[in-house]
């Protein structure tokens, strides 16, 4: 499997590169067959290997869940978990009568891929809200409380409407306006607020698909991601448990995500016009920091901020037409 298997979709690949470099959550929206699932499945080819501390944390969780086979000592590859959408909330988040880690903990330091996001039960999605913010899940029972780490990168995919062809360049959408809005509302505002990158996946035309020209390989993308991660490792070397920009606390953010005047103005304008929340503000800054790291730039410029702001399309009103 390789990124080059997917033809075109350069902007989606770029957004996945940004997401992988900083561990940011990403949702891909587009019609059926555009390449969302195919790209998500190739994400493991561009994410960096686990550092020793991350490997220890991840292996402990898999050890407790009984998922270490007799050939494995320490895990080296990042977990990539992709549960079916019929999953229950307990299986996703952890718990049960004898508390066990759920999918979000099994994807700690790795990727949790939720394909067809609106098909998941609403209660199951809502239960992810707190761990998406706190990066830990606290399971309370009458006799005891158990904490499992849950610092994962969420990758989600969805169609824009029940028929799937809303905003399609060629095909006609058969859904009434109410149906489209209702479908999009399955992903609640608070959940969407916690997703850093929203990217529209547009179908690729025939010429692009059959073009046998130069397409970037995973190894090239991975090289850039690994370099960006190395910058982050150096930045956070004295902080325990923080390995990527997405895990930064607010105080770290104030220190490392300083904006220049033009960048600050741009962000302020965007926030006023789009009515972005404070959480959106924080997340835009973190994504901008990652974009700057990918460009090996010490400072965050207006260009970086602009790209980060454009990744939050769904906060914009009028998405549903």
């Amino acid at each position: 499997m390789d990124f080059s298997d997917v033809r075109g979709q350069e902007n989606v690949k770029r957004s996945l590169e940004v997401a992988a470099a900083g561990g940011h959550n990403i949702i891909m929206i587009g019609p059926p067959g555009a390449g969302k699932t195919m790209l998500a499945k190739r994400l493991p080819t561009i994410i960096p290997p686990l550092t020793l501390e991350e490997a220890l944390e991840t292996t402990k969780i898999h050890s407790v869940a009984g998922k270490i086979d007799d050939h494995t000592a320490l895990m080296t590859k990042r977990p990539f978990r992709s549960p079916h959408h019929t999953i229950s909330d307990v299986a996703l988040v952890g718990g049960g009568t004898f508390p066990q880690p759920g999918e979000i903990s099994l994807s700690h330091n790795g990727v949790l891929f939720l394909d067809e996001l609106p098909e998941f039960k609403r209660t199951v999605l809502e239960v992810m809200r707190q761990p998406l913010e706190d990066r830990v899940i606290t399971i309370s029972r009458a006799k005891s409380t158990v904490d499992y780490p849950a610092s994962f990168m969420l990758v989600a995919s969805m169609n824009p409407c029940p028929c799937g062809f809303h905003n399609h360049p060629e095909k006609e959408c058969m859904c009434s306006p109410g149906m489209v809005q209702k479908y999009l509302n399955r992903i609640s505002g608070p959940l969407l607020d916690r997703i850093d990158i929203h990217i529209e996946v547009v179908p690729v035309n025939y010429d692009k698909l059959s073009d046998s020209g130069k397409v970037e390989h995973s190894s090239d993308v991975r090289g850039r991601v690994v370099r960006a991660r190395a910058i982050q490792a150096k930045r956070f070397e004295n902080v325990k448990g923080v390995y990527s920009n997405s895990q930064m606390s607010s105080s770290m953010q104030r220190r490392y995500c300083q904006l220049d005047e033009s960048g600050g103005k741009l962000l302020k304008t965007a926030m006023d016009i789009r009515g972005l929340s404070a959480r959106a503000y924080d997340r835009i800054l973190k994504v901008a920091r990652t974009i700057a790291d990918l460009g090996e730039s010490e400072n965050i410029t207006a260009e970086h901020i602009s790209e980060a702001i454009n990744y939050r399309n769904l906060d914009r009103e009028g998405w549903a037409g």
């Binding site: 402990k60 270490i68 320490l74």
Partner: protein
């Protein structure tokens, strides 16, 4: 006569050391205290059967076993090994010498084979933190535990091997 063996309870992704105290005296009954759950209580039958395959008998004495701290619930079948070794040590079938320097965990089959258990990595990490010399785990869990440096990890196939290890009648090498 009172002996102690050490086990480990996994909570979340960390472990807590559990002390298993075995006291043998005149009488016939068997008491297991310290909030064992059903799986732990069932261990009596697995242990009795496993002892039989080694040509040992369940001691004809009153045995009281306490799993300390007594107010934490003990769950799962992984305590079979430390319980069995405690009983053998109290019955003087196994030399007590090194037994307190190790954490033991493993589920016993009726023929004495050791079955793998969950949470071995946090258990090994905790054992090293508390200054134990090593851990004895089922052979399938050995590589997992061996990740932890500064700890002797022995992967055993069955109860017989563990008995030979502590009696010094067979040499074993720690896993690297």
């Amino acid at each position: 006569m009172l002996v102690r063996t050490f086990a480990s309870a996994v909570t979340g992704i960390d472990a807590v050391t559990v002390t298993i105290e075995v006291n043998e005296s005149r009488g016939v009954q068997f008491f297991l205290v310290g909030l064992p759950d059903s799986a732990v209580k069932e261990s009596q039958h697995r242990i009795a059967s496993a002892l039989g395959t080694l040509d040992y008998h369940w001691p004809g004495k009153q045995i009281v076993i306490n799993m300390a701290p007594a107010d934490i619930r003990k769950e799962g079948s992984a305590y079979d090994l430390p319980l069995a070794m405690g009983i053998l040590a109290a019955d003087e079938k196994v030399s007590k010498g090194e037994i307190e320097s190790f954490v033991l965990m493993g589920e016993l089959s009726l023929d004495g084979t050791l079955q793998p258990v969950k949470g071995v990595l946090p258990i090994a990490l905790r054992a090293r933190e508390e200054g134990f010399k090593g851990v004895i785990v089922p052979v399938k869990n050995a590589r997992e535990a061996a990740v932890v440096g500064g700890l002797d990890v022995y992967g055993m196939e069955n109860l017989g091997e563990v008995v030979h290890f502590f009696n010094g009648t067979q040499k074993f090498n720690p896993v690297k």
